[in-house]
């Protein structure tokens, strides 16, 4: 079936005489049959067309298709030049500047494939993106105006938007070739979030060093809104270029992989994120770096984003089940890991440092990162504090603390965080307490509190800005020497696929296997499932 119709003939003629290449002609005629853009077979003569001096033809096979359509008009054209347009015009298309000519060959596809192979990615699907110089859209607009101007009476039932975009035509021409070379599957459209898991996107940058074109605009949109008379500073049809586009760079980017788990912190001198002031590192390493290093080397990724469900101070240990965290590994070269391999990575992390430990390490979906922060306000936290008392105490003096339930505190923003937080009064509840005597000036205080309670300020009073505080309860000065936190039970949670907020067909329910331990946690190997966090619909502000 011929893609070109009778009414296209004048347009085709016009374009060819202006110096368009065959593929651009197809584009302007809104031909949507993708196979026509692809080169039918190996065509070595394509290489020969580059030199302007040779008496060269368009790629013969392509031309034959065009010729069929042009046959009728050849005779009537009169000029008889449709068969062999002037040679220089063939070598550089005035609209695409060679992008749809030389760069659609198998050789260039091979070059791209080589570039990807040297990076040694593991992938299944490919997404090709092209970045083209802005002047190409100026040229296209100019060409369109040229055609429109001449054909005013006859044709244009089409609007400019119907013209096949250059990038689309390029992808149609080349995608198959690249995919074959790489052995991957091409993703035609923007992939949905589920498939974002595992594709490599190849970004192909073109630059143009044409000096005879000056850029009117930087923005593609402005060109399309520009009325014809406003375009007067640029020739229509576009002028012959002296040089073509060159391929500047081929960049590969793999979609991010998300890893999640729970971590425990056993050190009282480890920050969660790197602590750097004025370019100087204040503390060696950090929780996120200790977790990220083995992951980055296994996944062969250079960057990461760390996110956790709340955080603790530098001098506070995290005990119990551990705090949930999620890590986005950027541009990984490898993404498929079996459960055994993930366990091995987990072991590596745990043996690399005695300051942290990780459990339930697994690969998860992107939605996880958002879920991390949800439900923080709803949690209960368990703390253990080592309290110092100014006056000597006896066992009986602190028994009464065990009976205090649901104590509401009014906490003004603590001075130690007031420099970076708004000044406000927060009401927080201490659900229960438990005191264990140690010696006349020390006792251990276990607390179960609402999330967001400042424990240190409850113990020493923060200049009386937290009321009631332990000093008032005991009627003496108290101070906190040590603090440990256990991130509490969060209940079963649901992993929702797709967009949260939309109703989805399938919800995978994830249940934790394993037992409830208080005290030292054992290293559980949870085969089937993973971790909890409270799933709440509203996102609430995070408090330390």
């Amino acid at each position: 079936m011929l893609p070109l119709k009778e009414k296209d003939k004048p347009v085709v003629q016009k374009l060819l005489s202006s110096g368009c290449c065959a593929r651009c002609v197809l584009r302007f005629c809104c031909v949507l049959v993708q196979s026509l853009y692809r080169q039918p077979g190996e065509d070595e003569s394509e290489e020969g067309t580059r030199t302007a001096t040779e008496q060269s033809d368009d790629p013969p096979k392509k031309r034959m298709k065009l010729d069929d359509g042009l046959k009728g008009s050849e005779a009537s054209a009169g000029s008889g030049d449709a068969e062999a347009p002037p040679a220089p015009a063939l070598s550089h298309c005035v609209v695409c500047l060679g992008v749809l000519q030389e760069y659609c060959s198998r050789d260039h596809a091979r070059k791209v494939a080589e570039a990807v192979k040297t990076e040694d990615y593991h992938f299944e699907t490919i997404l090709l993106s092209v970045s083209l110089p802005a002047q190409l859209c100026v040229r296209e607009h100019s060409c369109w105006l040229h055609v429109k101007k001449e054909m005013r009476e006859k044709v244009m039932t089409r609007v400019k938007d119907d013209i096949v975009p250059l990038k689309e035509a390029f992808k149609w021409s080349v995608q198959g070739l690249i995919a074959t070379e790489l052995g991957g599957v091409y993703l035609g459209d923007e992939p949905c979030s589920l498939q974002l898991f595992d594709f490599v996107s190849i970004l192909w940058h073109y630059v143009c060093s044409c000096s005879d074109v000056f850029l009117l605009v930087h923005n593609v949109e402005i060109v399309s809104y520009c009325p014809p008379h406003g375009f007067r500073h640029y020739p229509t049809p576009p002028g012959r270029p002296t040089s073509i586009c060159t391929s500047q760079a081929i960049q590969c980017l793999h979609t991010s992989i998300y890893v999640a788990g729970r971590y425990n912190k056993y050190s009282r001198s480890l920050s969660q994120t790197p602590w750097i002031i004025d370019g100087r590192r204040m503390m060696e390493s950090s929780v996120e770096e200790l977790i990220a290093e083995p992951l980055a080397s296994s996944f062969r990724s250079k960057g990461f984003n760390f996110s956790s469900s709340g955080r603790e101070d530098v001098d506070v240990r995290t005990l119990g089940k551990g705090r949930p965290f999620a890590m986005e590994m950027l541009n990984p070269h490898r993404y498929r890991f079996t459960k055994m391999e993930m366990k091995k990575i987990q072991e590596t992390i745990n043996t690399s440092s005695d300051k942290i430990a990780v459990r339930d390490l697994q690969i998860v979906t992107r939605e996880c990162m958002g879920h991390m922060k949800e439900g923080e306000e709803e949690k209960t936290k368990s703390y253990t504090a080592l309290v110092w008392t100014q006056k000597p105490i006896e066992k009986d003096d602190i028994i009464f603390l065990d009976d205090i339930k649901e104590l509401t505190l009014d906490q003004k923003t603590p001075l130690r965080v007031l420099h970076r937080r708004a000044l406000a009064v927060r009401q927080r509840v201490i659900h229960s307490m438990n005191a264990s005597f140690r010696d006349p000036h020390h006792f251990y205080l276990r607390l179960k509190t609402q999330a967001g309670t400042y424990i240190k300020e409850f113990v020493h009073g923060d200049f009386g800005r937290t009321k009631p505080n332990l000093c008032q309860l005991l009627k003496m000065d108290t101070d906190i020497l040590e603090l440990d936190v256990e991130v509490g039970n969060c209940g079963t949670s649901y992993f929702q696929k797709g967009n949260p907020g939309k109703s989805t067909g399938s919800m995978t329910r994830i249940v934790q296997l394993g037992l409830d331990f208080s005290g030292d946690f054992p290293r559980l190997d949870v085969e089937n499932v993973i971790f909890f966090f409270s799933f709440q619909k509203t996102r609430l502000k995070q408090y330390t």
């Binding site: 005695d354 007031l418 009073g461 009386g464 040590e482």
Partner: protein, 181 residues
């Protein structure tokens, strides 16, 4: 609690103020003898304005009759309101800006001055209700105000003030107080 690093509990460790704050002093504020103020600067640059232990209010068993944050017809420190993380709207104080006026039961009157440049974040309203806080715990619960210096000026707070050692030297040079008859 199983600690890997055993903490030494035999001696009391540094207090909250000693752990986080630097003490700066201004002696004889506005030329008034012994009216010494103490600024506690946190390592995060926030400052707490307090009376130094040598201040007359804290001497001779005085009791406080009245604390007034209204320093003029147009200005009351109680009206101070800050909003947001950047603490917009706080009254800006210079070194000699009065913060409050304290009247004692023996009719002596004292004005407490800012002693530093910065934005007033809050004044202590608890001492209005419970004046004994100021007398018994002037350095903690009885603080006067919280002031935030400008970021660029945060390191300059101590420039015109005395360190603890210098202050103690000044105090030791003072004439011994006259014995009350």
């Amino acid at each position: 609690m199983d600690c890997k690093e055993e903490i030494d509990l035999s001696a009391p460790g540094p207090s909250v103020i000693e752990r986080y704050f630097t003490r700066w002093y201004k002696a004889d504020v506005k030329g008034q003898a012994c009216e010494d103020h103490c600024i506690l600067q946190h390592s995060n640059r926030l400052c707490v304005l307090t009376l130094a232990e040598t201040h007359p209010i804290l001497q001779d068993g005085r009791t406080i009759k009245n604390i007034n944050y209204k320093i003029s017809n147009g200005c009351s420190r109680l009206n101070n309101k800050v909003a947001g993380k950047s603490k917009r709207g706080g009254q800006f104080l210079t070194e000699f800006a009065p913060v409050c006026r304290i009247t004692c039961t023996d009719e002596t009157e004292y004005t407490i001055y800012s002693c530093m440049r910065g934005r007033l974040l809050e004044v202590n309203e608890d001492i209005l209700i419970n004046t004994s806080l100021l007398l018994k715990k002037p350095s903690t619960d009885g603080y006067i105000a919280v002031i935030l210096p400008k970021f660029e000026e945060s390191k300059l707070v101590g420039e015109n003030l005395l360190s603890r050692e210098d202050f103690e030297a000044v105090v030791s040079k003072r004439a011994p107080p006259r014995v009350k008859s």
